[in-house]
């Protein structure tokens, strides 16, 4: 399971970085989203991977059979924040597209 998760994170991050370095603004947004997925999975993994261990503490429960709830809470916060900021970034991209008439990250077509 560990190898699958780390390969997944690596794949997300690699595709994200590649897209981030592309010249079109939409690709940049997609790249940022993929990188966010990678980072969120990474935070989740920092609570260690456990199968069948709920993050809920009950009276008399064995601490060894419980997953760490803190990284899961952190992931939730990070998700919400990155989602909101991606939406905000999209608005700025649309404004840039509208004002400059180009979806190139420099605001003008190369060679133009």
């Amino acid at each position: 399971m560990e190898i699958v998760l780390s390969l997944g994170i690596g794949l997300f991050a690699a595709s994200g970085v590649w897209l981030l370095l592309r010249p079109r603004t939409f690709q940049v947004v997609l790249g940022l989203s993929l990188l966010t997925y990678a980072v969120n999975l990474f935070i989740f993994a920092m609570g260690r991977l456990r199968v069948g261990a709920p993050p809920v503490l009950e009276a008399g429960a064995d601490a060894a059979r419980i997953a760490d709830p803190v990284p899961q809470a952190l992931v939730l916060t990070a998700l919400v924040i990155s989602f909101a900021l991606t939406a905000l970034f999209l608005v700025v991209l649309l404004a840039a597209r509208g004002i400059t008439g180009s979806d190139h990250v420099d605001g003008r077509e190369p060679g133009a």
Binding site: F42, I43, V70, L85, L88, F89, A96, T100
Partner: protein
């Protein structure tokens, strides 16, 4: 935890967000009312910051949110360093706001809400004692700053804003990776708890922990625009509207603050002592060098001010990297003065450039974007020229130049001299000589372009009317410059304050005791 004064520590966060929420309920047409609420809130923030600084003079105040005990709950810690930064934010925020009320707040919708939200994020970042809470305040601050950079609209701002947002979103991802690595290795995100665990012997995952701290450090170094992570700063700050740029000057200092706080708290003593110090020194000096070259090449005043912000961040980072306590004290003093002067320079530059190009002053600001038709009967503050406006602007410019270049007799010089003499108190290694050399050259490199731009701005005859300055704008500028002068006059008291701040920062165990209670092992 019962007296009303105990809850003072949470006011710098609660007050602006409440006022900011209130702003959203008010119609855009009621700009006078909004400005009044905004001014009242910011004044109250400054007063709170001063009261907190007074209270934190001897012992730090720890505020437990929801009365949850640290390290399980989140704490706000008001110590001498965070109180000093709160006061700096208050002064700069008030000046920028007064300047904006003269006319810039009407260049686009929701200026006041964004401005207050930004102050809330900055204050929260200075106060919090928890790394993940710091992330949240960082994001609040950044989200508000994205809006403020775009305030006033226009193609240049949107283009610069695009880069700014992209870079800072990536920095936030670094932040998250660093925070989660630290949690994964240490099992806590409370700063005091981290420091306590680090004071023991190094664990098996110390390497991974240091890697996490390094990744976290990259996020903050992007924020304080250390070379080579700071190429975004100059175009963004130069494109932003003047009051936004002035308050953004404090944003890069948030990065400096966090780096200073964490490196002194976590790496002052204990298992990982001195981690990253060499990098800070090298990065800081490279930032100063890059900023100096940038300011030499600057062709207008806003860009020069942006590079001055960069130089000031780099200087403090380098002083932190030398590991010399008296030098750090001088650097903190320098940080306050140079931030205020850079903020004032942004405001001055706008006034000067307004005079330069009369057509652009009225068109570029208000073209193509929001303008309320009901707002027109309000008298425009810009139209009323104070006699001798040029003399006032010129005098202010002179003060800013002396402050930023670090020339006698102003506070910039006091700070630099304190850094040099602090270094000279120890052994003068080649590294220390290099530090002195780079900083002295950067003084020269700051002076030359500012003098050149000053000659262009004031003495070269030009077409069009002279710059005019509104009463409110004059008040804002005069206030900032008066604080700069005050720093000079009471430089001894200021340095004594930063000396004691550094002495406090050098005892991480005192911080740990204050937050976790005396009984902590």
């Amino acid at each position: 935890m019962s007296a009303a004064s105990d809850h003072l520590a949470v006011l710098p966060i609660v007050l602006p967000i409440a006022a900011s929420g209130l702003m959203l309920l008010l119609d855009e047409r009621r700009s006078r009312l909004k400005a009044a609420i905004s001014l009242a809130t910011t004044t109250a923030l400054l007063a709170t910051a001063l009261a907190l600084a007074w209270g934190a003079m001897d012992a730090p105040q720890v505020y437990r949110l929801g009365n949850w005990v640290a390290p399980y709950g989140i704490v706000l810690v008001v110590d001498r360093l965070s109180a000093m930064m709160l006061v700096l934010t208050g002064v700069l925020g008030l000046a920028a706001l007064v300047f904006a009320v003269a006319r810039w707040d009407r260049a686009g919708p929701r200026f006041h809400a964004l401005f207050l939200l930004l102050l809330m994020g900055v204050n929260g970042a200075f106060l919090t004692g928890d790394l993940f809470n710091l992330f949240v305040f960082f994001e609040v601050m950044l989200a508000a700053s994205y809006g403020l950079v775009l305030h006033g609209s226009g193609e240049a701002r949107i283009r610069a804003g695009l880069t700014y947002i992209a870079v800072n979103l990536i920095a936030s991802l670094f932040f998250l990776v660093g925070v989660s690595l630290i949690y994964g290795t240490m099992g806590t995100l409370n700063m005091a708890d981290l420091a306590r665990r680090l004071s023991g012997p190094a664990g098996p995952e110390a390497g991974l922990f240091e890697a996490g701290c390094a990744v976290l450090g990259i996020a903050f170094l992007i924020k304080c625009s250390a070379w080579p992570l700071g190429f975004w700063l100059a175009p963004t700050y130069a494109a932003a509207s003047a009051p936004a740029a002035a308050i953004l000057a404090i944003l890069s200092k948030v990065g400096v603050y966090v780096v200073a706080r964490l490196s002194l708290l976590l790496f002052g003593t204990g298992a990982s002592a001195g981690f990253g110090q060499g990098w800070l020194l090298a990065g800081g000096l490279a930032t100063v060098a890059y900023g100096t070259i940038g300011i030499l090449a600057a062709r207008d005043l806003t860009r020069a001010a942006a590079y001055a912000v960069m130089i000031s961040s780099g200087t403090v980072l380098a002083a932190l990297g030398t590991g010399s306590r008296p030098a750090l004290s001088g650097a903190l003093f320098y940080l306050v003065g140079s931030t205020l002067a850079a903020g004032a320079l942004f405001l001055l530059a706008e006034i000067l450039q307004r005079g330069r190009d009369p057509a652009a002053a009225s068109l570029a600001v208000f073209a193509d974007e929001y303008r309320d038709p009901f707002d027109d009967e309000g008298a425009s503050e810009t139209g009323r020229a104070i006699p001798a406006a040029v003399a006032i602007v010129g005098g202010g410019f002179l003060l800013c130049t002396l402050m930023l270049a670090g020339l006698p007799p102003l506070a910039g010089f006091v700070g630099k001299l304190a850094m040099f003499s602090g270094l000279a108190a120890g052994a003068m290694t080649p590294v220390a000589w290099g530090f002195v050399l780079v900083l002295t050259l950067s003084s020269l490199g700051t002076l030359m372009p500012l003098v050149r731009l000053g000659i262009q701005g004031f003495w070269v005859p030009h077409e069009g009317p002279d710059p005019v300055i509104g009463r409110l704008e004059f008040t804002a500028l005069a206030g900032l410059l008066a604080v700069c002068l005050g720093l000079t006059l009471w430089g001894g008291a200021g340095l004594a304050y930063t000396d004691r701040t550094v002495a406090w920062l050098a005892q991480p165990d005192a911080y740990v005791r204050a937050v976790l209670g005396g009984g902590a092992p």
